[in-house]
Symmetry: C2
Subunit: 447 residues, 2 copies
Amino acid sequence: MPTITSVEVTDVRFPTSVTADGSDAMNKDGDYSAVYVVLHTDGLDSDGAPLAGHGLTFTIGRGNDVVALAARQQAAQLVGGDVDAAAADMGGLYRDLTSDSQLRWLGPEKGAVHLSLAAVLNAAWDLAARRASKPLWRLLADLTPEELVDVADLRYLSDVLTREEAIALLRAKEPTKTERIAHLEQSGYPVYTTSAGWLGYSDDKLRRLCQEAVDAGYGHVKLKVGANLDDDVRRLAIAREVIGPDRRLMIDANQVWDVPQAIDWVRELARFDPLWIEEPTSPDDILGHAAVRAAVAPVRVATGEHCHNRVMFKQLFQAEAIDYCQLDTGRLASINEIVAVLLLAAKFGVPVCPHAGGVGLCEMVQHVSVLDYVAVAGDLTDRVTEYVDHLHEHFTDPCIVADTGTGAGYVLPTAPGYSTRMHPESVARFRFPDGEYWKTASHVPHG
Amino acid sequence: MPTITSVEVTDVRFPTSVTADGSDAMNKDGDYSAVYVVLHTDGLDSDGAPLAGHGLTFTIGRGNDVVALAARQQAAQLVGGDVDAAAADMGGLYRDLTSDSQLRWLGPEKGAVHLSLAAVLNAAWDLAARRASKPLWRLLADLTPEELVDVADLRYLSDVLTREEAIALLRAKEPTKTERIAHLEQSGYPVYTTSAGWLGYSDDKLRRLCQEAVDAGYGHVKLKVGANLDDDVRRLAIAREVIGPDRRLMIDANQVWDVPQAIDWVRELARFDPLWIEEPTSPDDILGHAAVRAAVAPVRVATGEHCHNRVMFKQLFQAEAIDYCQLDTGRLASINEIVAVLLLAAKFGVPVCPHAGGVGLCEMVQHVSVLDYVAVAGDLTDRVTEYVDHLHEHFTDPCIVADTGTGAGYVLPTAPGYSTRMHPESVARFRFPDGEYWKTASHVPHG
């Protein structure tokens, strides 16, 4: 009967702004960062190593300490808890963590206290999966429809999805789960890459990276746009030339436009046949996304990395505002809220293509996409999950992307947990502000 | 040429949960708190006292430190700045404070970093008004339409309100400003009271407070509902009996319901003829509010205290989801964002009735409501601003509510600033966790 004995919350920051990795029209100088939560226990895992849960949320630098402070307060409630009791009632654990009415005022269900909640709950889910000696997707896929719905937060959703509908939806997919798992074991889960298209990269680097993506078997490439229309036209022409007419090209504006400007700009870029425009305007603007979508068809609309909770996704679906749901595993309140969004998306027939730049997001989204295919949506049509090829070296069980003959795909994770355990050396080196890197860095984050 | 020499950010918490002041169906045990920001300068005010700006945002206890940490980082950017230069370009100051792309990730424009921004900007606006030796409403009402629009954040709004429309809207009200100021000097700005109806109060206390509200000249009384239908029926019957059929009764559910439940519950309470149902469901649920509004008419729908930014208000108006806009001066990013919402509300013809429970919110909203009447909406029809009668003793220029013969109203503020300066003794006593009160309190906040 292991018990959670202590909590460790660390502000970890990687100096990605030095190389313009991750640069886009809104976020010019991000230092990819994580609020990293470890739930220590007095138990052992199946290898005889100390049992612990590891979770994180992603930020881009300054303010990571604000989220860490909130995470410390939320995670402290878990200390002393029985691991098996928590794992057996993850819905109850979620409700305990979200029922603090005073902290709720800071959102509700958004901003720093929701990001921190994601980190804490991600650690709890990692712990539950490690305790069960299963990768997290498998732990979830093995649940009955009732059990899976019990972990989901359906509050504020009953006008479009009742508990009974959710169970029925899962039941319909239950008999064919094993076939889909077998398919993923063979082919992996389809991915696309954003690594080629950061705004801070030169044309030469863009051309080279697009070619590398083609060579690696990618069928989709995504470019950042929105800072300068002439630059966008030139860069999209290069990308389309390199990838050819048949591979998919996506564009991402990272919220820089007002609605009328988004419509005008996307129409200018439509000649490069983009599959989707991502984050055309404020992530809060549900009706604005619906207006953009109606105006720029056949270019489709994608959003979600800043969509702060299930109530916003519900409305994006109700308003027919998006063609792709890009939920974020560091922004939604972990599996409990993610399963609710997967159920909503399945009901509305919107494909889920999770956001996964950042730190550790790729590690997490592979579990979510696999769960979605195996147990919820049961479909790969129009599904493609983001992959960005940096910072994986800091994880003990990094995600793996490989081309198994049908195009690049996430290889089905097999290690126990949520794949979010970082190397202790990485945490120590990049801990802010007193890790080895930051103590001696010539790169000092401004502000 | 005074300069901002230092910033002081204090976590101040008042033990309101001891007496159930402020209790409602969602927030059972709030300790009304403020993140209190003081911008010190090397100048003097018109009385020869040290010139400083004082601002705050409101929370209900735990997490106040999280907001304070963010406020310290944001406010630090102002140190060394010239007061007159800042006051002459408050739109520029706003853009400087909101342009930190790394901190932006924690929202964007929502949650802890937006609350903290409100506190910092509120202090900057108090400073600007004190430097001009004017109450803030007067400083703003004296601006030209172009100047007032220059301070407003119109980003993401151009699909419904252009800069030119905003200027035209203000110009139409300009010639008659002085008449409206004269009216407010005589009659005050109409208020209602929530002090009677907190959920934690007994029936006897409810009855007594309703009678006191009637005796004090209030034409409106608001009650909290949503925890238990039988209790609500009994309490509403008492309130309606005391205030009679002609005074207005409002009800507030503080987000506890899903949409279908909100509709059913409000229909049950409709027999008590409530003017509005406030916060029937999640504050993020724009389409949900629209559905509730359509279903419960003629009961009207009000929301806004948790509406996190102007983009959400834009959609509440577009979707015809609300009858009353209850913007919050601690949640929106101060005057810059508030003026944008006042302009939107005026364009859509939705009356603004600001939220004002909490600490210092009444002190601020009187300026906002006066500005709205004098320079933006130019109308008192259906307008009534909240007033709650506790914690004013901690402010050096508390708001004053009086019945001047036409019902209770906020007396037009005349002291320079935003009325948000607290007594140093109050700040010292209730500073958390090391102020005199908390060091010796038998009341220890749980969690």
